[in-house]
């Protein structure tokens, strides 16, 4: 049953000894990997995600991460972390693996047998680098392979690993939870989430054209880069305002026109266009709360709602279809903040006011509040979990 496993980087059976988080050999390797990607960036012009990953890996950024954990506590990795990653988020496997390595672990990574070109390419680079003698220690701590989901090897690693990290969906998590795991293995799960964007209408109205375009660029990056299907891609846009006037309507239109302009770079193929139109029509048929629908060619569809519907997490746009609501953002957030609400991107409201509101009103949802344009930026704290803390053990001591 273990045939049909393709090893893409590292070794077949990695060594498990835990290291301290942010240990030098790991940081040196990541720095070299970052440099290698930068050097070869011309090869990756069609794979935007690889250079972005390389940039994320830069030494200064990793050092910033390291400094966050200089708190005098004693931490050490857990052993082997097994990563199971969504197949259609390019390069996600590499982020997951790096976080595992940073926490002081060895990493076994299963990527889908349908894995993307980006992933194959990046594995090639990683594996080449691991072949150098100076990285033999790190090489022995990595195993990246692809196989079908029902391959025996998945079961074996589930049983053996000291920690399990699963990206991608309630269904995947449920099926893994049904399998045998070591009793003391930690589980870091990333279930289905959805995200929103809050814009203060007045403040958007005062931005000069150029600034607005920059902001729209960031919004398009958050939403369109992953066909709007990432957990962090905004589904709802909340306009913080008292009442709808001619002026607020003007501001709204100016914003969406700016977004449309930035979205022209988005590659809309026949499949995406028909699926998106079908999604729009379906919501138009079944949603009670629609005030009006606007179509900016096929690049951008907006659905303005009179109120936040029940079960807002089930409203999923795709490829640039947004639900809008106008009113006090706090009222909206209170109804949107189900457990599944992950990221809020914002402009023009006070961040403290929002985060205080979450805490003071005991809301279940909202795990991240970041400026527009940063929705997809990976952090060591994700979905409300500090991944370094979860993937390492802390030695407490008393004298």
């Amino acid at each position: 049953m273990m045939d049909d496993v393709t090893y893409l980087a590292g070794v077949i059976q990695p060594k498990a000894e835990p290291l301290k988080p942010f240990s030098e050999p790991v940081l040196d390797f990541l720095e070299e990997l970052s440099g290698e990607i930068r050097k070869r960036r011309r090869e990756f012009e069609t794979y935007r995600e690889i250079p972005a990953f390389g940039f994320w890996l830069r030494r200064t950024h990793m050092e910033e991460f390291r400094m966050r954990y200089e708190d005098g506590k004693l931490r050490i990795g857990r052993g082997v972390i097994f990563h199971i990653v969504s197949s259609n988020v390019p390069v996600l496997f590499a982020y997951s693996m790096v976080i595992g390595l940073l926490a002081g672990n060895s990493c076994v990574v299963r990527i889908s047998s349908r894995s993307r070109n980006e992933d194959q390419k990046l594995c090639e680079i990683i594996d080449n680098l691991l072949g150098r003698p100076e990285f033999s220690l790190v090489r022995n701590r990595i195993s990246v392979f692809s196989c079908k989901r029902d391959n025996e090897i998945v079961k074996c690693w589930l049983e053996e690993c000291d920690g399990l990290m699963v990206w991608g969906g309630d269904q995947a998590i449920q099926s893994v939870r049904g399998m045998k795991l070591r009793p003391d293995a930690v589980q870091v799960m990333f279930p289905d989430r959805y995200s929103i964007c809050i814009l203060d209408t007045e403040r958007i109205g005062t931005i000069p054209d150029e600034g607005l375009q920059t902001l729209a660029y960031g919004f398009v990056k958050d939403a369109y880069a992953m066909d709007q299907n990432a957990c962090s891609s905004p589904q709802f846009v909340i306009w913080n305002q008292e009442e709808e006037t001619e002026r607020t309507e003007q501001i709204r239109r100016r914003w969406w026109n700016a977004v449309r302009k930035e979205a022209t770079a988005y590659e809309l193929n026949p499949h995406k266009a028909t699926k998106k139109y079908e999604t729009l029509c379906r919501y138009a048929m079944i949603t009670e709360e629609i005030l009006r629908i606007e179509q900016y060619d096929n690049l951008l569809y907006t659905v303005l709602l009179s109120k936040i519907p029940p079960n807002p997490e089930t409203y999923r746009g795709t490829c640039g279809l947004f639900f809008e609501y106008q009113g006090d953002y706090r009222t909206a957030v209170r109804q949107l903040a189900a457990r599944k609400l992950q990221t809020v991107t914002y402009y023009g409201i006070r961040r403290e006011e929002l985060t205080d509101y979450i805490i003071n009103n005991h809301l279940y949802g909202i795990h991240r509040v970041v400026p527009i344009g940063e929705a997809l930026n990976m952090d060591l704290v994700w979905d409300g979990q500090d991944l370094i803390e979860m993937l390492s053990r802390e030695i407490v001591w008393e004298e």
Partner: protein, 358 residues
Amino acid sequence: MMDYEGILSRKPFSAAKDEKKLMYGEWLTELTDYHRKHCPSYGQLLKHLMIREHGQMREEEIPMLPVGLFKEMDLISIPGDKVFKTMTSSGTKGQTVSRIYLDRDTANYQQRALANIGGDFWGEERLPLLVLDSPDVLKNRNLFSARGAGILGFSIFSSRICYGLDQDMNLDMERIKQFLDRYTGKRILIFGFTYIIWKYFYQALAKSGQKLDIPEGILIHGGGFKKLEDQSVSPHEFKERIREVSGIKEIHNYYGMAEQTGSIYMECPQGHLHASLYSDIITRRVKDFGVCSHGEKGIIQVLSPLALSYPGHSILTEDEGIILGEDDCPCGRLGKYFKVLGRISQAEIRGCSDTYDG
């Protein structure tokens, strides 16, 4: 109300461009208003897409319903007790299928449209029909699959029917030969789905080394080349190979779908698919669903005035095609003629929640 008797009394390839455009604008505007009133979810769609209620629309302005919605919702413009039959699309196993609700009138109009189109190609005379499928396809009479509907639809052309495959999809040579012997020298119709014909007729014959000799046979096949293309069999090769093993000279592919049964697009001897008076085709650009020029590849929209019991008179399909011309096909038929390039490629959409796929 729509004058279906008038529409169906006309010859299927008799309307030239300007007249057809005008008629389709009128007919489909009327149907759009009709379904708005009789199918609540369709009415809500039009309201939210801000399609104005009164006033004449041109053919290309008629709102399009994405074909996928027939899988997700019950789209119906008649009371439940008027449903005469329910058609389902031919989904592969595990896929959800479209459900199309027909009343007696709609089923009747669609049937007659098919008869008229067929008549234009092989005459009004009823011919013996050899069905290259298993009779079992028709067993569940309440739920018509596209395969069953196709067989039943074409059986109206026939004086006598013979099924060429047994219940296990094996070629029944004995029965076929008996049938052919009876009609030696006479024209016969042969009908089946493209892939079924290839797999259970051609390949079975080729494998056994047997050949048939049906020079007077007229083969009509539909259902798409998708599966054959996966095996690198082109439409041209399909024809050649069928000819080799069966001697059939006249072969017509057709394009059609369960969502608009009856008003099929038949392939003429030039190899062009033809829109008849009972249906029309528009190709759409990805960027804004603007109308493509002739010769330009686009997403296929199909229109038909015959969809009365359900709002299927203007459908955005998941196929791509190219309109080659209008009214000037060398075969002499009026109307648009085109070719289908096949299903839109299911390009990968990104997203977080598919860890376990594949």
